[in-house]
């Protein structure tokens, strides 16, 4: 939601005193010694605008202080780039600039490593087709099927999928938070035990499995003892296939690490 211009005041209202400063700032040559002081005055003067916008985005899982900083960066950009000659007023330029900065922060923040924007958008587009395609096909889609749905070349879809590998993995709390209780642990324990009998390192494995959070244990059991596909597990547990993939990888890495430590 874009906060409306009127809600944060207009040039004729509480920020009217900044208008002459703004014109002066735009007129000064880039190396004028007066510029830094004017810039600071403008930024401080308009700071409530940034704060107002930051608060609009509060409650979406990011700390307000961080949002405030990001909004302030947006404000600084707006102050630096605004051209009064263009005829538009500062607010109709600054509000979208600041809002855009905060939005970008939300979009970028889920990524553990830097991935070009184009790839992130692509990855988001791919994710959005996955559940629908999986349902229609009764299995996970192929890159060519995703490409057809999105009307993109297959090579781009492959790039987008790879970009997804850099997506920040969910924390343990997040995994446990969503959709809990759709699969009950008791259903799997029996099968798990009988299958475990065939495995030589079961003595080491059993306590490790027992220590896992229920969600992780269930997913490991469904995949490696019931041999369901990731898509089937996703359906049963009520999370996305990508989420299942991440849980499997993290949990396997954990189990291997623990078992290696016991050698």
């Amino acid at each position: 939601m874009t906060p409306s211009v009127s809600s944060v005041g207009t040039e004729h209202g509480e920020y009217a005193h900044l208008l002459p400063l703004q014109r002066r700032y735009a007129e000064l040559s880039p190396d004028d010694p007066e510029r830094p002081r004017l810039r600071e005055q403008l930024i401080n003067g308009y700071l409530p605008v940034a704060e107002h916008i930051a608060r609009r985005f509060a409650g979406r899982g990011e700390p307000v202080d961080d949002l405030m900083q990001v909004a302030t960066v947006g404000l600084i950009n707006a102050v630096d780039r605004f051209e009064p000659d263009r005829g538009s007023d500062f607010f109709s330029f600054a509000v979208p600039t600041i809002t855009g900065e905060v939005r970008r922060y939300f979009r970028d923040h889920g990524w553990a490593t830097r991935v070009p924007r184009r790839l992130k958008d692509l990855h988001i587009a791919i994710r959005s087709t996955l559940s629908e395609l999986s349902q229609q096909l009764g299995r996970a889609p192929r890159p060519s099927e995703i490409a057809e749905r999105l009307r993109l070349p297959v090579s781009e879809v492959i790039e987008g999928l790879q970009a997804g590998e850099a997506y920040r993995s969910s924390s343990l709390d997040e995994m446990l938070g969503s959709g809990e209780g759709k699969a009950t642990l008791g259903e799997f324990i029996g099968g798990l035990d009988s299958e475990l009998g065939l495995i030589d390192d079961r003595e080491a494995l059993r306590p490790l499995l027992a220590q896992l959070p229920p969600r992780e244990r269930t997913i490991i059991a469904l995949r490696f003892f019931r041999q369901l596909t990731q898509t089937q597990i996703a359906e049963q547990v009520g999370i996305s296939q990508m989420h299942v993939s991440r849980v499997l990888r993290q949990t396997l890495a954990y189990l291997h690490e623990q078992m290696a430590g016991l050698d």
Binding site: A140, R142, P143, Q162, D200, D201, T229, M259
Partner: protein, 157 residues
């Protein structure tokens, strides 16, 4: 790390750079690296990329990625000091084979097939095998693990 071989051999005019390769094409890629956990991420990315380009479904791509991750980890664990890890990928439209081997001390056994790690490999891939390679003259002993993944996702378990 070097691409030793990158060979598009197709009789009907070659693989298109975009889209699944023609039906009778075989893509073969070989990686040769130090047997070190650091390079496993690179190797599994190559595996996933080949599977995606062969138009495997996303579950199968991910299975192969994890299988390669596991098999490399197994080999690195038994590798001798300063060992070389070799990974040979052969990608056909319906099947990808990965044969990886590593230098080991004489007398090292292939990983036990009744371990949890092996169980995981068997679930992730369609065919899995391990063997001690015949020792060549003036060469160290090697142990090889081969996994193969078919394009078709297994349906009901």
């Amino acid at each position: 790390m070097t691409y030793v071989d990158r060979d598009y051999s197709a009789s009907n005019g070659g693989a298109r750079p975009d889209g699944p390769p023609p039906k009778d094409s075989t893509l073969s890629v070989e990686l040769r690296t130090a047997a070190n956990t650091v390079v496993i991420a690179t190797i599994r990315t190559v595996a996933a990329d080949l599977a995606a380009r062969a138009d495997f479904d996303l579950d199968s791509i991910d299975d192969l990625r994890m299988a390669v991750d596991d098999l490399c980890a197994m080999l690195v664990r038994i590798a001798s000091q300063d060992a070389t890890l070799r990974c040979r990928f052969t990608a056909r439209p319906e099947r990808i084979e990965v044969a990886a081997d590593v230098e080991v001390e004489d007398g090292t056994e292939p990983p036990p097939t009744r371990s949890f790690s092996w169980r995981v490999l068997e679930c992730l891939a369609d065919d899995v095998s391990a063997e001690a390679l015949p020792r060549e003259l003036n060469q160290r002993s090697r142990i090889c693990i081969t996994v193969a993944k078919n394009a078709a996702t297994a349906q009901e378990p």
